[in-house]
Symmetry: D3
Subunit: 253 residues, 6 copies
Amino acid sequence: MVQIKDLMNQDITLRPDGRAVDELRPVTITRHWTKAPEGSVLIECGDTRVLCTATFTQGVPRWRRDSGEGWVTAEYAMLPRATSERTDRESVKGKIGGRTHEISRLIGRCLRGVVDMRALGENQIQIDCDVLQADGGTRTASITGAYVALADAVAWAKAHGVIKQNKKVLKDCVSAVSVGVINGKPMLDLPYIEDSQAMTDMNVAMTGSGDFIEIQGTAEHRPFSRDELNTLLDLATVGNRQLQALQAQALAQ
Amino acid sequence: MVQIKDLMNQDITLRPDGRAVDELRPVTITRHWTKAPEGSVLIECGDTRVLCTATFTQGVPRWRRDSGEGWVTAEYAMLPRATSERTDRESVKGKIGGRTHEISRLIGRCLRGVVDMRALGENQIQIDCDVLQADGGTRTASITGAYVALADAVAWAKAHGVIKQNKKVLKDCVSAVSVGVINGKPMLDLPYIEDSQAMTDMNVAMTGSGDFIEIQGTAEHRPFSRDELNTLLDLATVGNRQLQALQAQALAQ
Amino acid sequence: MVQIKDLMNQDITLRPDGRAVDELRPVTITRHWTKAPEGSVLIECGDTRVLCTATFTQGVPRWRRDSGEGWVTAEYAMLPRATSERTDRESVKGKIGGRTHEISRLIGRCLRGVVDMRALGENQIQIDCDVLQADGGTRTASITGAYVALADAVAWAKAHGVIKQNKKVLKDCVSAVSVGVINGKPMLDLPYIEDSQAMTDMNVAMTGSGDFIEIQGTAEHRPFSRDELNTLLDLATVGNRQLQALQAQALAQ
Amino acid sequence: MVQIKDLMNQDITLRPDGRAVDELRPVTITRHWTKAPEGSVLIECGDTRVLCTATFTQGVPRWRRDSGEGWVTAEYAMLPRATSERTDRESVKGKIGGRTHEISRLIGRCLRGVVDMRALGENQIQIDCDVLQADGGTRTASITGAYVALADAVAWAKAHGVIKQNKKVLKDCVSAVSVGVINGKPMLDLPYIEDSQAMTDMNVAMTGSGDFIEIQGTAEHRPFSRDELNTLLDLATVGNRQLQALQAQALAQ
Amino acid sequence: MVQIKDLMNQDITLRPDGRAVDELRPVTITRHWTKAPEGSVLIECGDTRVLCTATFTQGVPRWRRDSGEGWVTAEYAMLPRATSERTDRESVKGKIGGRTHEISRLIGRCLRGVVDMRALGENQIQIDCDVLQADGGTRTASITGAYVALADAVAWAKAHGVIKQNKKVLKDCVSAVSVGVINGKPMLDLPYIEDSQAMTDMNVAMTGSGDFIEIQGTAEHRPFSRDELNTLLDLATVGNRQLQALQAQALAQ
Amino acid sequence: MVQIKDLMNQDITLRPDGRAVDELRPVTITRHWTKAPEGSVLIECGDTRVLCTATFTQGVPRWRRDSGEGWVTAEYAMLPRATSERTDRESVKGKIGGRTHEISRLIGRCLRGVVDMRALGENQIQIDCDVLQADGGTRTASITGAYVALADAVAWAKAHGVIKQNKKVLKDCVSAVSVGVINGKPMLDLPYIEDSQAMTDMNVAMTGSGDFIEIQGTAEHRPFSRDELNTLLDLATVGNRQLQALQAQALAQ
């Protein structure tokens, strides 16, 4: 960790909430938060609060039948007043916005990246990530929480004899965290106040083995250099390691 | 209360959760459950759990302008996995179902029934009731919780000088409860397991003064007599009085 | 009837159209108004004019298959210029409004309340209520007219050998009427001019045996007391009895 | 008329309803069929029955403002059970079908073809044609009936001082009729049973002066020759002249 | 041709692009413009440029199954910036406009008019006409180009053994052209600048044998007489003969 | 370049089209491909063919008014038969799919990343990228082509005096290219046949100065290591430099 801090010429007083640049917000993972779903996890990252549920269904969509393989899909949504200004419901507008689509697809890809579809067999797991309160990093919190719900749903299927105990459905764990450049300084885990003024914003999903499942870096406000990219990836690695430790702790309980 | 019990020839062991026929499920009302909304209340009635938020906005919709009066509107929705089977999202289907519309309109009418629109002035309050977990009575829990969120939003507006302190915006409180006839016996506050086998199902919204704001009684399975109606209304009166006491307690904290 | 009038301290000159408070508008029920449907009824209640058709189809929706039971469903709509101001078509807007949904569901429930689904067998009856001219009470006129169309469709099915003659598909008849409190006075069968100024508005669907199928009472403007409720139910009973006599007359022709 | 009959080598017994090939079905035009619209006409052509209403509104759509000219638009729809098989509502399907769009546009063009938009001034007339019962020729009956409703709406506007009495808003009348080739024989005014087996199907809208506003001829089943076209246009001329006489009669009452 | 010119009292300098009144714009037909479709044709008529593709699929829609007959359907669309003002995408608006529907249906009917559905067998051909650049006559160019794509798709099916070589799927060729009356003068093949000021506008689809598949004549601005109609049809015959020669040339390459 | 080849242990015969792993497909950029748009570019990358248009409009959307800043937005779409299997039109389905939304947003962000919104002033540029033929890399070809169309639209605005000549609206150029890992080997510019079997797929948008605007790396099939990421970024840098040279050449003509 020492190198990262040096590299960034860190100014500890910089962040509104007093965190160091490579420090996560407090994270809480609560399993079985609701009763009905096969996996149900409330994840809180600072003030961001997402309910992640996993629905296990036997059978797969038509296009996947007779393949011997399963499928994992995800939907992301926000309650209208998760945000400081009320957002109109997409159900009322009659269409799903681009941002929602983009994030739903991201979450789905990240989870599929750690699932052995053959071991899952012809079963489907539907992930729902509903943001109850939003303060930045909702998509990365969704991925991190959804992995735990996914693990619970797989365990449920094994406990109920739908999947054999010896199948290794989950090839690895996955978590995600946001990083960004604020006033020229790379930082880990941006709350809304920082995110909205970031020059560059990156979401990084990593496996427990330290490889990448998804990197999405955007620079609407100022392009970022290869050096900045490297620092951001270092920060993301730090954050994801901690998140994966918390996932493991939650699942061990 | 004595008369009611006599009238119903009550069999205390009848209900799956051991409640008496005129007994509410445990109710918890938590204010300020999320930070952003002007009013934010988590109401739990047994396993039914609804997040009710109230959004206060200055100004009214176009058709209401220059009337000197405000407006209160409501939207109801369920998370996909609030129920034992996953429900498809209405945003994904691209249209709002009839049941959602019906309940949203019911909640809106009940709250408008206790608001003095002239005292509210040209301001709008939008109520969002999102069911996080469903076990029967979601629409009545929504009304009961939404009233508390509404009261908080009105208080917020007064504290911020948007409405004068001396304006009496809320003419009365309002709560709602479900009653129904199960195997010929009228009962108070039906969880899902009872609701699904009810011959008659009625939702009753009442003011603190004991008058009715809305009565919706349905008998798809067996018509109900005037006598049954009277017993159901007695039960609803019992339930609403208790709910209003809990509302008052919550608002007093 | 005497008691009701006493109770209401009736002022005969009160109503714009000169009716007594417990008097229905003139009602006409015309069967076979169009040729194609298995049941086709034009009902006129004062200036309100609704075309109610019943479409009989063998087979049921997928979720009902192999249950041995039938299904009855209803859709309500208004022609754009049924009203004094033109209403935009819901087909053009691309979505069905809440009011339409609410009324369609109400009509469906009321008719299902008198149908023995097992006697109907795996057949479906679709009710369409299209308001050609609206002057208050369109949803109650729809229910009253739709019952006659439903009876014709059942008779058609028996005449065509789809349902055995000895099956008692209709357990009872059903009609509906609106009642309301205007300037503090309960009244029967509100035309638009009264409906729009009602403090309380209630729609009551009753069977021939005098029991209730549906009660929907709303008090956006002023809550109503238990006493008022009782008077309104008395008025509704008077009205529904007359409507059911007219249904029987029409069906006897 | 003599020439036409010769030209067609007419076989009087050919048509299911016993009509001659150049004979219209019985036509009834009833004005003021509903009370609310500025023009409201029920037109019956055989068993085809269309309610045509005209809504007069001061002001024009945004793109037409400050042009000094008015606008006329039309919407066509069918009740679900106007046809022998029930048609799903377009409002329920959430989109308007191609056939509906095509016919709505046709009606609008035909009526605009006889309106002097400058004389109309910045006012809009919306035509609604709702088919209550369909037996072929619904689009042509709509045009013929809508013209009468349009004339009534213009008269209403003059009577209410919205348009000056001396303005000649209607340049001419317009009516429409279908013609087609059945088993090689051109015929006038096709009911559904003929229409569905027509090789060629043509709708012809003409002014009182005998000119064409719209010709739509389609030959999915067998192309038609210039000679056949000429015979069809002769038949359409015969039919439209009679329809225009009936329009004039109706408007004279 | 001599008669036509006389009849029209032609003024050669009349047209903005210097053409004679009975002269087509330059037409180019390029086959195999894209690689994937079974038929892919870029047709250019002056500055109008339409990509017409034909997709051959084995099997037919459900309603056509076990009929032994095939089906041909068409969809028309415009790129947003095919026009001088950008047009909003219909996918973004969420609904297809009336004009698009009308033209899609026209193209489908015209092509079906020359296809022997029995010879096609239970196969479907989907035509897509996408306007890349619009300068009037996009619907007629679509029909003319789509016929060539259709012929290529049929040839593909024969070459791949899906249809027997000896089946005569195409009964005839079909092309279409626009004609119109401008300042009182009938003219052939209107570019946008002429089309927008036409009193009468007609689209005429004809077979190689000189018969009509579809005639659509519209006169929003001034009705047209039988004589004008005849002249317009003469012009359309001239134009379609030339277009059919170009289709044959293209297919011969 | 030497290092990259060494690093990848390159096998020149690996790729179906005979390219080296760090070799782009042939690229053609044609400006002014259609006449109407302010910028209109056809870009061809191998068989991928995208029409990119830029529409310049004075004024900005409401939320941007009085900010003194402009806006750039983008929409991506595919013709139905750009692909080997026909894709249903999103306009017909009535909603935009997630993939379309995701790519449209990506293109918009990349272009905004090089635009000085203050120099653009309160003007809007709408980018439309319509894929005429798809063979992998459609989103990156869209970005590369759209930049040229954007530059033309800015030049048009300067030529027409809407933007002052001395304003530097474009801060830099931007291009994008896909890279991926196939059978363990990183490669540049994947056609469909490679893309569909890629373990990892990354799209990289870079400025002329060599910084990143957007990185999107996805590993549904196998996570990628930091070393692989670095090689992929090296390849993307090689590709983007060449694309930017081609953009400059095209704009110089």
